[in-house]
Symmetry: C2
Subunit: 143 residues, 2 copies
Amino acid sequence: MPTSAAHEAWALFWRIFTADKPRRLAVMAELGLSFQQAMALMHLEPGEPMTMSALAAGMHCDNSNVTGIVDRLEAADLARRHPAEHDRRVKTIVLTEKGEALRGEVQRRAGQPPREIAALSPQDAAALRDILARAVEHEYPTT
Amino acid sequence: MPTSAAHEAWALFWRIFTADKPRRLAVMAELGLSFQQAMALMHLEPGEPMTMSALAAGMHCDNSNVTGIVDRLEAADLARRHPAEHDRRVKTIVLTEKGEALRGEVQRRAGQPPREIAALSPQDAAALRDILARAVEHEYPTT
DNA sequence: CAAGGTGCTTGAGGTTGTCAACCTTTACGG
DNA sequence: CCGTAAAGGTTGACAACCTCAAGCACCTTG
């Protein structure tokens, strides 16, 4: 049973995140990416091949969905599919140089906190970070 | 120039919100709504008619987009369009009884904080709420 | 070797996003 | 007044993404 404070905090959480949505979309659009394409880039760490399934799990979406997204990343020369060695069903995805560069750009620009968060006092910002860090420790392994 | 703490807080913010996305979608799906349809319901306060433009602005999306969403709400008997009296170009949207009931359900269920937030200590939850409340005071009027 | 499971792709169908064009109605300048 | 511009809403074309159900190729196991 969450406290009333947690309930109110969640409402504010939601409000801040959705208010910032246009900015995030604008950043992606400027870089020529859709939102999900940018998310895929962020999940693909440079030099760390990732299977389609792992990417789908990380993005909390269907496997068949990732097929199309990676198709477009490949078409834009941002990533490449390689067949895995031990299992020919599996395909691993790797960022190209161009993909790594663009990933950095996404990270740099979308990682900027929105006005509401950036304008917090240093004390509030630090407290917020610490509380949220404790919050993510309450994640379970996803079933 | 945001502090490093603000930057890290934003990363955690993002992580928590996207990790909860499947739950939010599942709630809407159980109620027979798409995500945007549910958002529209939330913006339409019972007994408060709203114009298409106002709804589009509130949802941070294009005007033409809202047309389709409201079409589906009307088809599901959740809302109705009425012509405005003073200006025959304008149409106002009002929730039906069914729409008001479903809106309450969405609010009740999607308003529940996710595990990470709900599991915070009462002190952390209160502090989080207070910090976020200060954060939203930093909103500007949207240009 | 046959049967079943896994990894990825394909397909149909629906919702949302952008953008441009359109229609009606209102507002404004002469 | 009248003509032109602007505003509110809709429509259409097109791309992206979502779900779900099949399908195919490839393991894995009995």
